[in-house]
Structures are given as C-alpha cells and as structure tokens.
C-alpha cells in the first residue's frame, strides 16, 4: 500500500441572480412608535444568514444601530413580493431593495428631525448610535425614539420607505444564444491537496486553499461560513454523494437514509484556508456579489485534478469513488 500525494487546481466564475433576470425582490420599511425599524420582506432564510445581512444593509443605510432593526420575513400577507431564495440572489436582490427602502425612510426621518431641531435636513447626519445630529455641531441632536414619537404623535408622518430591485428579463436570441444572463460574476480559485490510497482507492482531501472574489463581504464571518461550508459541500459532491450507484441502469439500490447516502463527516473535513478578495459590483448592495452557489464548484475539479496528479488516474465521472480509482489504477 502506498499513499500517493497530489495537488490540483481549478478556477471558476459564477453568475449572481436568476439567469436572464426578471427576478424581482421588494422591501418595505416602517418605523414603530419608539423608532424601531421593521423591514418587511417575503424572502426566506435557508440558513445562510439572509436576515442578518439585510439587517446590516438597513442599519448602514439608515445610520442606525443594528438593535433598531427588526426583520419580518416570508409572510405573503404582510411582505411585498420576492421571487425567492435561490440563484445566489438573496443578498444582491434583497439587499438592494432594502437599501432603497431604507434611503426613502431615512429621508423622512431626517426631515422630521430637522423640523424638531429647527434646522435644515441637509445639514443633518447620523452617527450610527441612534442619534441624528447637526453636522459640525454635534451637541444639537435628537434620538430616533424622539424622532419617531414626534413623527407619529405631533407631525403626523409615517417614517417609511419602499424598495424594489428588478433586473429586467433578457430573452436569448434563439440562433446565437445572445443574452444578458447575469448581474455580475463572482470568482474563485481552489488548490486541493489529496492523498490516494492505491490499495483501497480511498481519496482523502487533505486541504483546500481557496481564494474567493465576492464583490464585498458585507459580513466577513458569514461570508466565511458560506465559502467554507460551500467548499465542504464540494468535497461531498466530489468523493461521496450519489443517489444512484448503478446509474443509469437501476434505481433499486438507491439510498433511503443517511446511513446509505454517504456524505463526509467531521473526520473527512479538510483543512481549509480561505482568502477573500473584493471587487465591488457596480450594481451590488455595497458592492456585494452573490456567493452562495459558487463556493461548492471549484473544489470538485480541483480534487479530480489532484487525484490525477497523485496517481495518474483521470476520473471523468462524479463522484470519484474508491471503485473508480481502483479501476483507473488497474487500467494504467
């Protein structure tokens, strides 16, 4: 038995948003009596952290602390239309809609504050702590709670805003495929290091070195979660998962539970180093591009290429099972 070491490379790009566009998302924001901001959406959090990142977009745009922001999502009676959470579109579409709604709400908020402080709204700024204050004269200030109270009980105003992001649908030219299929492209390069046991055919992914260009990491901790979780899923695709061991002949042996459907457990998680680059997208919320799907993709071919580097077996069918490695070694 020999453990053979190999290194493989792959680089990819990935489109943000539904291919061909036409996938709108809306957001509504309104302030409560005491200056909480409710962001109403019909978008869904799949575990990727959408609620948190759009709250950040709202807080940044309003100039208010995160604690002021409440996300009310996925009730079709109260939320405005959203196409859905897929296609690496959540942060991009919903983030943009939230920013637009928050800008509108901020304008009203500053006007109410201006009337209370008897200054010009254009001379006001927010400090991120909950206060609206006069530029250059920060002692003249008013807290969002007092602004909201004044709006609702005195001035008779609703501090609210509407946001809508829509990239118009593109229709491909049938003959040539000419089309506009994306809002922006994210990028990744993976270097995979593997060990191949030439007696058992077992591939162990030792490490993944990933570089991701994602426009802007709105929340670096959650971006890390996304890219490293996605890379793990790539490992799973590459060397574990298949619903049909005997595809395409039979499905009689298809898995029915997690003891038969193989996925990597804690012992199979490779060491990961990840570096994020940021090239802001002109149409992204604070420059963010969609990264949800891309992160699983580059590890797969990088692992295939590393297996070849290790033992000279070119695997062209996913997943790269021990059987396929051994058959490949026999054929050499």
């Amino acid at each position: 038995m020999t453990l053979r070491y190999g290194r493989g490379y792959a680089s990819v790009n990935y489109p943000t948003g539904m291919n061909l566009g036409g996938d709108p998302s809306q957001a509504l924001i309104h302030a409560t009596t005491m200056g909480g901001f409710v962001v109403s959406l019909s978008s869904v959090d799949l575990g990727q952290g959408l609620k948190t990142v759009v709250a950040q977009c709202a807080a940044e745009t309003l100039g208010m602390p995160m604690e002021q922001i409440i996300i009310d999502t996925a009730d079709t009676d109260t939320g405005p239309h959203c196409m859905g959470t897929f296609a690496s579109r959540g942060t991009h579409r919903v983030g943009n809609a939230v920013i637009m709604a928050a800008r509108e709400a901020r304008e009203v908020m500053l006007q109410v504050a201006a009337d209370e402080l008897e200054v010009d709204a254009g001379d006001l700024e927010t400090d991120g702590s909950g206060y609206v204050l006069l530029k250059g004269s920060p002692a003249t200030k008013i807290h969002i709670s007092d602004i909201a109270l004044a709006a609702h009980f005195k001035q008779g105003k609703s501090i609210a805003g509407r946001g809508m992001f829509l990239k118009e649908r593109s229709y491909p030219v049938p003959e040539t495929g000419e089309m506009d299929p994306d809002s922006c492209q994210a990028h990744a390069c993976t270097v995979a290091e593997v060990e191949v046991d030439d007696e058992t055919g077992v591939v162990t992914v030792l490490s993944l070195h990933n570089t991701y260009e994602i426009g802007r990491a709105l929340n670096p901790a959650m971006a890390t979660q996304q890219v490293e979780g996605g890379a793990w899923m790539g490992v799973s695709h590459a060397i574990f998962e298949s619903t049909e061991p005997y595809y395409p002949l039979s499905r009689a042996h298809g898995p029915v539970d997690f003891s038969e459907y193989l996925m990597p457990g804690p012992a199979e998680i490779p060491v990961q180093t990840s570096v994020i680059l940021e090239r802001p997208a002109s149409n992204g919320p604070f420059g963010a591009k969609g990264i949800g799907e891309m992160t699983a993709n580059a590890p797969i071919p990088a692992i295939a290429n590393a297996i070849f580097d290790a033992c000279g077996v070119r695997l062209t069918t996913m997943p790269f099972t021990p059987e396929s490695v051994l058959r490949g070694l026999d054929a050499l």
Binding site: L20, P181, Q185, I276, L277, P280, F286, P301
Partner: protein
C-alpha cells in the same frame, strides 16, 4: 475566519462603513443552537390530519385501474384524493414567468413516467393510518418501454415518453439551447492541437436537514394558511393558487425559516395537495416528505453528460471550443429547461475563446424529475471545463495556472453569449491562490490584471 486581502482593487473599494464589513453575529444563531427556532413542523394543531402518497412502482406504464376501496377501510382514513380532485392537474413550475409547457400532473391520470410518481393521496387522522392507507391502494399497469439514458432518449428509435412528441425540450424551434460565436470549424482548422473528452455525473440529493413539507390550516373565513418551508413564498402561493383555481388572495404562505434548501424546495410539490386535502376535510393537513421520499422522489441534481472539444495553439491559447451538454431532466420539466439555458450562458467558462459552439440539451427520460440545485446548470459544467483545462495543460506541458491565466477573461472581453465582460477578477483569484500555496508564477503572469485589456502589457 477567512482573511480579506485589502490589497486588491484598492481604488474600487469604498470605506467608512459602520455596520457593513463587520462580523455581526447572525440573528438566528442562538435560536438554532438552543432549539428554540420555530420551523413549520413545530406548530401544533388539534385535529391535524396527515397526507401520504401511493406512488408508481413502474418506470413507464399505462394505468389500467386504481382501486382504493381497501384504503378507505383503514381506520382513521378520512379521504382518498385522485387527479379528479385536483382542479388544474397539469402544471409547470415556471408558468408564472411564461416558460412552458405545463407537462406534469399533480397526480397521475392515465399513465406514469417514473418510479415514485404520485398517483393517489391518502388523508388520515394519523401518519400511520395514512401510510397504511397509501399501501393498500392497488394500481394495475400495462408496462411501456422506458428510456433511462439521456443520449439514448435522443435517438430516433427511442420510445417517445412526452406528450409534446419529443424527448427533449424545444428552445424556440431548436433541439437545444445554443451558443454560436465566431466560426468554430475555422478555429479547429487553424488549431495546432485538438483535444476532446467526455465528462459525466450521477444525480445527487440536496440532503437538507429538514425534509420538504407544509401544514395547511383552513381559516375561519375560508382562506388557507400555509405553513411551509418553501424557498420562495410567492412562487409557492401563486403556483398553488393556479393549481387550485382559487383566487390568489385565498392563500397565505408563512415561512421564512428553512432547515436547508439548496434548490430542493422551489418545486411546489407538497402545498397544492395539502391545500386540497385541507379543503376536502376542513382540517389542518400536514404533508411532509419522509427521509426516504426526500432521497428517492424529490428532485435530485440532474445527471449530466458533457463532451468538450477544444482547439488549442502551441502557445496555450484556446481558439475554438465545442460543447455538447445533455441534462437528464427525468420525466418532467420542472426547472430543467431553465437550468440548461443557464448552462449555455456559462459556457465556455471564465475564458476568452474566439470561436464557441454550444448545444445544451434538456432531455426527458423515465427517471426521477431533476430540478434546481445549488450551482444549477453550472456545477457539473465547471467540473468538466476545469478537468478539461487540466488535461490540456498537462498534454502541452504548460503550468496549470499559467494556462488558465493565458486564457482568463478580462474586463472588456466579449463573452460567447455576446455580453461584454466587466467586474472580472479571475486573474487575481488565480494569482492569490498561487501565492497562498507557494506556487511560483513568472513576473509576466504576476503582472497580469483583469482591468488591463488583453494585448496591452502582459
């Protein structure tokens, strides 16, 4: 945590944010780790009924007879639902945005096209009774020849399984979504080397922690409240209303917290039947996939087969690329025609190639309908393209990263689908990855930039 390398694209990065760019703790983390987050199944209702399905045991067959009399005799069974109870039985998930055809029945009528296709729904006062009822349904079949292979399904003598008359989706008169850019034959004629390989994949399951499901609760005023783990609340609402032939305002979808989706929860598979069952029984009805159903009958990622032929010059420039891609859509379209178009748009990868010819076929077979999954239309293509890149680099004895850098797309390049590339960063991620692992690149490769037009400088 991943490092953010601020050295790249410095002049394009705005600074001075207060909240953006900070590692704010995710708002639902505490609820998730303490088990307090409420998922749709955590809601309890008195009188809750359960819905289970009797499914096809044949790949392709005519249904001669359905006998559910024994199912009705199972204690606790409230109702058996057949296609006759479904107001608009034929649907397509993309009909909202005008992509047809509506080619899939909610419940099978006179034929089945795959093992696992739903034929009869049984509603009962307990999950066990619903399961037992579903197991008592007897279906008589006349078997028909099945086609289980994508390329076999494209041959003239393959059994035609679709009512539309072809085993493939027709894109505006074409058998495939096509890309035509430059003159690929001239490119191959000019090339110093021709490389051609085949790649393929098996279908895989999304494997969410929480299986697909919903609870539908009839409201006092006659509306239906749908607690769902859908990935797309309005998509589910609109498609369900169309199937029910009810006003859209009759339905309310509540969701928002999903235990994993990865594309598997956008097909609108459970809500319409649960709504019909709730209406017919006037009870809250729960329809949730078992783990076995999630793995065996929920849409997998499509198996694909991809042929790539490249024409390459001695200096490593790819000057022609021809791709034939076959997506195994399984028995029904769902999102697969869209996925094949997305695949076409992704070709020929993040590389600038002057002559490109792509046919992406969306092929119907008697297999489980595939549909959206993370990286839809792109993941398998990336596997194929990047394996191809490695094979060519080795054949020409070119460093694998240098080979990619020579062909990497840059700002201003025309993509094969005729959109000018902008905001590209392939060169930089490759350079940074090389640095990360100590893979040395010669100075001219280190000096490359996505923002420098091709031919200028490097």
């Amino acid at each position: 945590m991943a490092r953010i390398d601020n050295e790249y694209f410095k002049d394009e990065r705005e600074s001075g944010f207060k909240v953006i760019g900070t590692p704010v703790q995710r708002s639902d983390a505490l609820g998730h780790v303490t088990g307090r987050t409420e998922f749709f199944e955590d809601r309890n209702f008195s009188n809750l009924a359960h819905l289970k399905i009797h499914r096809s045991t044949r790949h392709h067959a005519l249904i001669d007879d359905v006998d559910y009399s024994e199912a009705l005799r199972v204690p606790g069974v409230l109702r058996v639902i057949t296609y006759k109870d479904v107001p608009e039985n034929w649907y397509g998930v993309l009909r909202l945005i005008g992509i047809g055809p509506d080619d899939e029945p909610v419940l099978a009528e006179d034929r089945v096209l795959y093992v696992g296709e739903p034929i009869v729904a049984v509603v009962a006062t307990s999950e066990a009774a619903a399961l037992e009822g579903a197991s008592k349904v007897k279906v008589s079949y006349t078997e028909l020849p099945a086609v289980l292979d994508v390329e076999e399904a494209m041959t003239p003598d393959a059994p035609v399984i679709k009512r539309a008359g072809t085993n493939y989706f027709v894109y505006e008169g074409h058998h495939a979504r096509r890309i035509r850019f430059g003159d690929v034959d001239a490119g191959f004629a000019e090339a110093d080397h021709i490389f051609e390989w085949r790649y393929s994949s098996a279908p895989i399951e999304h494997a969410p922690t929480e299986t697909t499901g919903c609870i539908v609760v009839p409201q006092a005023g006659g509306r239906l409240l749908i607690h769902s783990n859908t990935q797309a609340a309005f998509f589910t609402l609109d498609n369900t209303a169309l199937t029910l032939k009810r006003p859209f305002t009759d339905l309310q979808v509540k969701g928002g917290t999903v235990g994993g989706g990865f594309g598997g929860k956008v097909d609108v598979m459970v809500e319409p039947l649960a709504c019909i069952a709730a209406t017919l029984t006037n009870r809250p009805v729960k329809f949730v996939y078992t783990r076995e159903e999630e793995m065996q009958v929920s849409s997998p990622r499509a198996a694909e087969r991809i042929y790539i032929k490249d024409g390459v010059m001695n200096d490593g420039r790819i000057i022609a690329r021809k791709i034939m891609l076959y997506v195994d859509a399984g028995a029904y379209a769902r999102h697969s025609p869209y996925g094949a178009t997305k695949a076409a748009a992704h070709m020929p990868g993040p590389y600038t190639i002057p002559n490109v010819y792509v046919d992406c076929h969306c092929v119907y077979t008697n297999r489980t309908p595939s549909s959206a999954m993370r990286g839809f239309g792109v993941t398998i293509a990336d596997f194929a393209i990047e394996s191809q890149m490695d094979q060519i680099a080795r054949a020409l004895d070119i460093d694998p990263l240098q080979f990619r850098l020579r062909n990497a797309y840059r700002d201003g390049d025309m993509k094969a689908h005729r959109k000018v590339a902008s905001g590209t960063a392939l060169i930089e991620v490759i350079q940074r990855a090389a640095a990360l692992v100590g893979h040395e690149l010669p100075p001219e490769y280190q000096a490359m930039s996505s923002t420098t037009p091709r031919g200028a400088g490097a």
